[in-house]
């Protein structure tokens, strides 16, 4: 079957088996390997992507179900060299260790902040509770999302000024 998906702002088309899982489409057909597979049972959230802005577990969807929709993967979070606030927050607050859960965590966090720009700790813990992290114990992930909320607020207040301080890998 042919499937056409808007992936990170680009239209991508492929001929796929109807049974192909969305996560395999993303990883193997599109070669966007930032989306990971951790459990096969929708339990861990390593495969989380955004479908029309909402987090979905791509191991539990068929590729053809994503046809005609907008998909955002971790590779689509940054705008060029400018990292998304959640990416900056995770770096600044040491919200990642092995990095395997990180793409999913970043995406659910970004979706949370879209609909709730000033979440409480409980809001954050609830939002990320479908994503398992084995390394961090979540405390620093909560701080990272709070940090990102602050950055977003700062960007909204000064829309022309780029707030990218501390972006890893950038010019120091």
């Amino acid at each position: 079957m042919n499937v056409t998906v808007d992936v990170n702002g680009q239209e991508r088309s492929a001929d796929v088996e109807p049974r192909l899982l969305l996560v395999d489409f993303i990883r193997d057909h599109l070669r966007l390997t930032g989306t990971h597979i951790g459990c096969d049972t929708s339990s861990c959230g390593a495969c989380t992507v955004l479908l029309d802005g909402e987090p979905v577990k791509s191991c539990t969807m068929l590729a053809v179900q994503a046809g005609g929709h907008e998909l955002t993967t971790v590779e689509g979070l940054a705008r060029g060299a400018e990292l998304d606030p959640v990416q900056v927050g995770f770096h600044e607050e040491h919200g990642l260790q092995c990095g395997f859960c990180t793409p999913g965590m970043l995406l659910v966090s970004a979706a949370l902040l879209e609909r709730n720009p000033q979440p409480s700790e409980a809001d954050i813990r609830w939002a990320i509770s479908g994503n398992i992290c084995r390394c961090t114990g979540y405390v620093n992930i909560v701080k990272a999302v709070q940090h990102a909320a602050g950055l977003r607020a700062a960007r909204a207040a000064a829309p022309t000024e780029q707030v990218t301080a501390g972006a890893p890998g950038g010019a120091e």
């Binding site: 339990s43 770096h91 092995c98 793409p103 609830w126 509770s129």
Partner: protein
Amino acid sequence: MSVEARPHGGIGESIKRKEDARFLRGRGNYLDDVSLPGMLHMTILRSPHAHARIRSVDTSAASAAPGVVAVVTGELMAQHGLAWMPTLSGDTQAVLATDKVRFQGQEVAAVVAESRYAAEDAVGLVQVDYDVLPAVTSPQQARGPGAPLIRDEKEGQRDNHIYHWEAGDRAATDAAFAQADRVVSLATHYPRSHPAPLETCGIVADVDSVTGKATLYMTSQAPHAIRTVFAMVAGLPEHQIRVISPDIGGGFGNKVPVYPGYVVATAASLLIGRPVKWVEDRNENLISTGFARDFHMTGELALDAGGRMLALRAHLDSDNGAFFADAQPSKFKAGLFHIVTGSYDIPAAHVTADGYYTNKAPGGVAYRCSFRVTEASYLIERLVTNAAIELGIDQAELRLRNFIPPEAFPYRSATGWEYDSGDYPAAMHLALEKVGYQDLLREQAERRERGELMGIGLASFTEVVGAGPGKDFDILGLRMFDSAELRVHPTGKAVLKLGVKTQGQGHETTFAQIVASELGIPAADVEVQHGDTDNTPYGLGTYASRSTPTAGAATAVVSRKLREKARALAAHLLEASPDDLVWERGRFSVRGSPDRVKTIQELSLAAYTNLPDGMEAGLEGVTYYDPPNMTFPFGTYAVVVDVDRGTGVVKVRRVVAVDDCGVRINPMIVEGQIHGGLTEGFGIAFTELITFDQDGNCIGSNFMDYLLPTSWETPSFECHATVTPSPHHPFGAKGVGESATVGSPAAYVNAVIDALSPYGITNIDMPVTSDRVWAALRSRGVGE
């Protein structure tokens, strides 16, 4: 950032991590991200039975399925001498079963196909005819009369017993018990758990059909040791094996052993002449790869009337599964369990252990733990709290009365360990102050008046990590040193190559910080490389909190070697005697003439451009560091819980952690490690269980049954530090990755036991689930 001075990034600075840059952008390179031209995909057929004789394996239908390139059976592996392989404990393990299957999930055959989907389709077409045998699912059953013999293929093996092992002084211990006023005992099961890193295990095996060179991308915490094991298993020449561990999505001990899938995929690539990828799914990971714990333990503590500990007896029965595949040094059959005297000055101790085969998955790995110190720490800390309750002495006070005093270090324990340094009362006092212990005791008394169940749990763990002195510690005979190679380029930038391998611990940042302190090159200018055996010096890998004690020490030592060469270069350039030069971070100056200076960057250039006569060019070195002793991190954890007397639900209210891991390289990263360990300890204590029914069916084989802590139930953590440097480590560090998994389970469970102690409840086996708490309360008539 441009106006701000760059941080130097030396030891003690919480600089942000270098490795984040790729992970945040989805640009990590994990095993499953490796894709080679012409690559095939492998899926393993696993046994549905825990114990069964194989009558026949019919691969005809699978071989004929679309996209299938080969079906590999035990018989085929046997033709190449690869049906069995050695384990890390010197036992043997079936690669693909030929005679019997011995646990549910055991590898029976493998399908290699053009795609993962094709391989998964075909694997179900392999027909295996089994003759089902009775299963053995516990050590008690394994040693019972009429127990089926699991390892009938082993010559001389007449029962399911693997080893008997003892440590300490039985006579002295018996004598001390005879004198004791009180004896407190505890029997408890440290249940089978699984490290369950979020990334499962896998391999891409690429054996070049022309040159014969095998490039093996593997999820390995110990790539060099694995290369040597592969050379021994497969008979491949070691120089033609290159093991590459790409980014690893968590290890926690699960990625130390060699698994059958690695061997089969390599053999398949060799036979077919194309790269072969095998990546476990989660079910395979949980049912077949290195589990942890499964120790049935009994302990007895002898005390005098004043609460002074006199002696300790401990016995454990270890459930090793179908193959003795524990990852641990060859001299320590029960791991480092004899550290069981913990933080206490106990004059006499005697420890015995027996290991048994059962029809369960093999591979007792040290899950975020230094070779079974976790179980030992759990037993003594549970015993001490129970003793405090039985004797009516405050649990903090009983600990303080019996701690090894700070002035007694180096201290030799009754089972023979020489503890390097410690200040246990300092960590305890800080924990009590931070948690507000006295106020909590008052609150608890008030709540008890009202019939409410509130508990305060303490654990004052001592670890033994950093294996090791090579004379005592080895893996299959390979001495447990580790290595660092430092190359400083002419412009003063450096590459550091390590024999250890990060799985999220942040080595690319922290090891650069060691160079920054020791050689003065800013951490940002030091690239750390690891995980490629063709490109790094030999080392034993990252587990058992050993990277900082061994490879960290090697990094300091090699940096100091280069600093001495830089001193000679500075003397040449400054026309001064080397003895007249003063080192401060990153520069030499002439004593008394502080304006006569050469920076490490200038000296690096000189090493390639302007050398004194007779000096070799370059500023490079390599060090293999064999530590003189283990290191002994310690700490006190305090946990506060509230237990619902009607439902048995335990709510963890506070977790205060005081850790002393010696000098901290990067406090931010250290604290992150502690957070992770406290969370994994929380899971072990309250939610995670791998168990088996009477037929050996694994319960806990996916993340819907094996419950890892999520953000919703995981508590917040309050971390604090004391610093007692290791006297023998070059910069005083001890290692920290595992402290919290080792120390925290006892603190969590002690809190629950403390809450339930008014009702005489002294033990609930982990995981302390609400139904177990409810049953314990009901058995005492509470909550009815």
